[in-house]
């Protein structure tokens, strides 16, 4: 898997947490309610539908 820098990770999780907080379908099975925690879980599993474009 592509390794992300700490900045990329922050942006991806941030963007995903925003999506989840606004009602996007969650891609992991969890009881967690905090969108940021959910986004972190999704990131660890590598299922976030967001990536980065590098120059």
């Amino acid at each position: 898997m592509k390794k992300f820098t700490k900045y990329e990770k922050a942006r991806i999780i941030g963007a995903r947490a925003l999506q989840i907080s606004m009602g996007a379908p969650v891609l992991v099975k969890t009881d967690e309610m905090d969108p940021i925690e959910i986004a972190l879980l999704e990131f660890e599993k590598g299922v976030i539908p967001i990536t980065v474009r590098r120059k």
Partner: protein, 459 residues
């Protein structure tokens, strides 16, 4: 075979340390063991016959495992993706002691891990971090300019003034100095080192004797100090010739009848011309003095016995002339004049000189700044192929962006120029984006997100 080798050879064959030492202590070697029987051996090292038999059996066997040979270790280290300095350190440290292959494997793995950990991520604001990391220790530096830099009698600018000098890329430092190392033939020979020193040090007539003015005779007499002449390997004829050639005087220069003085008589019979002549002869100033021997810019040379060699420290610097002199080791000779290094050795050498000078100046004050911050500064100063200062005439003044330059100094004239000539600002830097109110291209601000097709729900 030495005792130590015997023990090692036995250990490799599986003999316990205690027994191996016993065998070696009794003066036996691995070769001797082959010709012995168990009963003979047990008498010699005073053990039971069974143990002796065991030793003999083990000694006859092949060594268990060859300890990782140096060449394979080297090639393994060479393949790692780490900088040269880390590789060299690994090779050095790992060959100092013996390690088992698993230990080596582990050391190398941990080295890589640690190296990856300390690498900084892309988009990091390295410039800001470097500036802070140099600036903070900078506040602790003494303002005192003068210090003895380990060498008696030679003044060197140190501390904050020296740092300012370096980043301002001054053409000449306020106290230029050189450390001249000598080559093999000269470095251990005191007389040769002294001879070399006097060939380098600028010598003027007043160093070679007393200069006496005799107004009633309209005469200036140099009373030669023979020991001073001898020290520098000069003859009286050389001196006369030099004075004639260098001085271009309107005067008669002759050897006195006693053969130990030089008489100089101005052709023009006036008191003024006599005084003028005296002024030139007594001057030790590089621009007006008459150079008899040595290099003009090097005003003083101090010889020191350092470690196991003689080293010359000079006041004044003339790298180009010095490295040409027979007996000087040009590769190890240094100057603190960065501009000179750039001209003589090139921009890469200048970059290294900037780094070294900064590390040494900070280190001398007991400040430890990570070398990578200083490398960044040196890189920025030299990236264009010539050393330029950090400041309005250098890095800050030559930024590509108009808005960035306008934010730095003389805002109106920069903006006026830009509007007159129709410049375009690409908004790539930090300052420009702050001005127009956009996220800056640093850290998370420089990440471009793209959507990826939806995946499936996972557990």
């Amino acid at each position: 075979m030495a005792k130590h080798d015997t023990i090692r050879a036995l250990l490799k064959r599986g003999v316990s340390e205690e027994l191996a030492e016993k065998v070696a202590d009794s003066g036996l070697t691995l070769g001797d063991l082959k010709g012995l029987t168990a009963s003979e051996l047990c008498k010699k090292i005073s053990t039971s016959e069974e143990i002796a038999a065991e030793i003999l059996q083990l000694a006859g066997s092949k060594p268990k495992k060859a300890i990782t040979s140096e060449t394979s270790l080297k090639s393994k280290i060479e393949q790692l993706e780490v900088p040269r300095s880390v590789k060299d350190a690994l090779i050095k440290r790992l060959s100092e002691r013996e390690f088992t292959p698993t230990q080596i494997e582990r050391i190398l793995r941990m080295t890589i891990e640690e190296y990856e950990r300390i690498k900084i991520d892309p988009c990091e604001a390295v410039g800001i971090v470097a500036a802070q990391s140099i600036g903070e220790p900078g506040t602790q530096m003494t303002m005192r300019t003068f210090h003895y830099a380990g060498v008696a009698e030679i003044y060197v600018t140190l501390g904050l003034p020296r740092i300012i000098e370096i980043v301002d890329a001054r053409k000449t430092p306020s106290t230029p100095m050189m450390v001249i190392k000598l080559n093999e033939e000269y470095r251990n020979d005191k007389t040769k080192a002294h001879a070399l020193a006097s060939r380098i040090e600028a010598t003027y007539p007043s160093h070679l004797g007393d200069i006496v003015t005799l107004p009633d005779e309209m005469l200036i007499r140099i009373e030669i100090d023979e020991s001073a002449m001898e020290k520098r390997g000069l003859g009286i004829d050389d001196l006369i010739e030099k004075i004639k050639g260098q001085g271009k005087f309107n005067a008669d220069i002759d050897l006195d009848e006693d053969g130990k003085s030089i008489n100089i008589r101005p052709k023009e019979y006036s008191y003024r011309s006599l005084l003028q002549l005296r002024g030139r002869l007594t001057s030790t100033n590089p621009s007006s003095g008459i150079l008899i021997a040595g290099i003009k810019d090097i005003t003083r040379v101090v010889i020191r016995h350092e470690g196991d060699e003689y080293t010359l420290y000079t006041e004044g610097s003339a790298l180009k002339d010095v490295i040409r002199i027979e007996g000087v080791d040009g590769a190890r000779t240094r100057t603190n004049n960065i501009n000179e290094i750039e001209n003589v050795l090139g921009i890469e050498a200048a970059r290294n000189a900037i780094i070294n000078e900064m590390v040494n100046t900070l280190g001398e004050q007991g400040l430890n700044v990570d070398i990578r911050h200083l490398m960044l500064v040196a890189d920025m100063m030299t990236v264009d192929g010539e050393v330029k200062q950090i400041g309005r005439h250098g890095i800050a003044g030559e930024k590509a962006s108009i808005l960035s330059r306008a934010a730095f100094e003389v805002t109106v004239s920069h903006l006026l120029d830009a509007s007159l000539y129709g410049y375009v600002d690409e908004l790539k830097g930090v300052t420009e984006n702050v001005i127009v109110g956009q996220p800056i291209k640093l850290g998370t601000g420089d990440v471009e997100l793209v959507a990826k097709p939806y995946g499936k729900v996972v557990d």
